[in-house]
Amino acid sequence: MSTANVTASTSEHPPDRSAVLAVRDLSVAAGQRRLVEEVGFTIHAGERVGLIGESGSGKSLTALSLMGLLPGELTATGSARLGDHDLLSGDEAALSQVRGKDIAMVFQEPMTALNPTMRVGHQVAEALLIHRARTDRRSAHAGAVELLAQVGLPDPAVVAHAYPHQFSGGQRQRIMLAIALANDPALLICDEPTTALDVTVQAMILDLVVRGVEQRNSALLFITHDLAVVATVCERVLVMYGGRIVESGPVLEVFTRPRHPYTQGLIATSDLAVVDARGRLATIRGSVPPAGEFPAGCVFRNRCDHATQACADRPPWTELGDETGYACFHPVTHSRRGFDD
């Protein structure tokens, strides 16, 4: 595979495309504990962006704060603009007009995200009625059946009358996707939508997600800890650790030439095909600290092999291009291929 010209094209997209979501200085705190710190990124229409990191890195909190669904004891500051709306304004009345219409989310657990006492057709129709995409029940029901057909459920008219417990995990996730896509959202957020599913079902759901957003030219924010999934689904990736974005850029660039040692470690430790002389996998030293107990300065420095005194200060963001960069004093250097091999 040739990687020589990866840096040349930082973005495949024309620069005039409008930003659907612009997040600036997003922080989430529980009292004095900072759980997400000064996160910023932009997603354009039709763009698929991945957010990766291990448990406790702040990925889900970032998504929940955009949806206005943070638990009461957590507060979000900063700004997140979706069109004319500020998602962090805290204005619940305004947000309820946006949520489910302009911004929608698919959660990890399809078992708990659906209402067990409502027929699934009714749950899809509800999304259409609440936001007045359909004004009467009959046409809302027809719209629901149409959406259930789009997500590949067989015999959608019959399926619409069934209850969630009658479906498997993969089918429930299809129903969740039908609800999320009901109002052609400008931004779809998926939080680990396939983690609980079998690998063949995962492939079908990922395909549906990508086709769903492509047909609607929606922006996608896809959260996962699985690097291979994010590389398959997304064009661009944000790497999160300790509540901060430590690296971002196009998938091919970040996964073939990672700059941050955490990204490099994550890629190495995910790769089960590469082993050392004793047949052992590469690992990242130690484990992810509990929320709010990351070191000051660089959050990764207590697990990093390259950490020095300098890392006690917070590393500034080094910008390599549009939405591409890293936060590290000692970035991984890559020899230019083609010269040494």
């Binding site: 690998v199 492939a203 990508v210 291979a228 996998l281």
Partner: protein
């Protein structure tokens, strides 16, 4: 379709020299009766499963939810009984033995489960948890032995007095492994031991299992839905679907040259960085109808 692929050329009789020898095991479950007029529906969890595991082998079982892999594991571990068929563990038929005669099995075969929180008693201290199999079998256990076991899995010995909730998921899985090793088993059975863990922790736990299997010359039975993990861990693998083993062979053989259409579909569906960076989209993970028909022609 299943018959098209020669699953095995095993002898009909179980092999007493194998560590585990399974022949034609079936297990049916009767589900709750839902009608007065009809008999309760029956689920055929296992429909004639046969295989041998040799001493020191690392044997993998892969398949998706509901394929019967957990039922198979429970029968091998003597936690459930087969409806028909034979299971020999180190030459002893365990299928018809009452619980009081399974003591040898409880010592020689140990299990680690997927959910490390669900399998550790939250009200017991770590030291008591690790000592429990020794206590249950009436063996000696000293503080030094327990601390030594914990150290061997990378948990500091002073963890003895702490409770499971004070540890992270990866550490809890290490504690489960220490407990499994306490009675010095010869067979180590792991049911999805890394599925609930983050990638960086997954690598650490897989390395630990590999170290222990090497050092203690254990026979490993490793069950997972994740084919890439099984490829890394095991020498030989059985692919299960709908209560049957549809393909069995060395990992290289099964992964590089799968014969059964189900195995092919399963392998195609795994997203990998390599495939993705070469431009694979989710649609490429789906088994296309035309490739499926070619597979069938190949077998004919």
């Amino acid at each position: 379709m299943t018959e098209a692929v020669a699953v095995s050329d095993l002898p009909a009789e179980p092999d007493p020299d194998a560590v585990i020898s399974v022949r034609d095991v079936t297990r049916d479950y009767r589900r709750a009766r839902s009608s007065l007029l009809h008999a309760a529906p029956v689920v055929h969890a296992l429909r004639g499963v046969s295989f041998d595991v040799a001493r020191g082998e690392r044997f993998g079982i892969v398949g998706e939810s509901g394929c019967g892999k957990s039922t198979l594991l429970r029968i091998i571990a003597g936690l459930d009984q087969a409806n028909s068929g034979t299971v020999l563990v180190q030459g002893t038929d365990i299928t018809r033995l009452p619980e009081r005669r399974l003591k040898f099995l409880r010592e020689r075969l140990q299990l680690v489960f997927q959910d490390p929180m669900g399998s550790l008693d939250p009200r017991m201290k770590v030291g008591e948890i690790v000592a429990e199999p020794l206590v249950a079998q009436g063996n000696r256990n000293s503080r030094e032995t327990i601390a030594g076991l914990l150290t061997s899995v990378g948990i500091p010995g002073d963890a003895i007095g702490r409770y499971p909730h004070q540890f992270s998921g990866g550490q809890r899985q290490r504690i489960s492994i220490a407990r499994a090793l306490a009675p010095t088993p010869e067979i180590f059975v792991a049911d999805e031991p890394v599925s609930a863990l983050d990638v960086s922790v997954r690598a650490q736990v897989l390395n630990l299992i590999a170290d222990l299997v090497d050092e203690l010359s254990l026979t490993l039975v490793f069950v997972s839905h994740d084919l890439s993990v099984v490829r890394h861990v095991c020498d030989r693998v059985a692919v299960m679907s709908q209560g049957r083993i549809v393909e069995i062979g060395s990992v290289d053989q099964v992964y590089d040259d799968p014969q059964h259409p189900y195995t092919k579909r399963l392998l195609a569906a795994i997203p990998t960085l390599e495939k993705a960076l070469a431009g694979a989209a989710p649609a490429d993970l789906l088994d296309r109808p035309n490739t499926r028909s070619t597979n069938m022609e190949d077998e004919a």
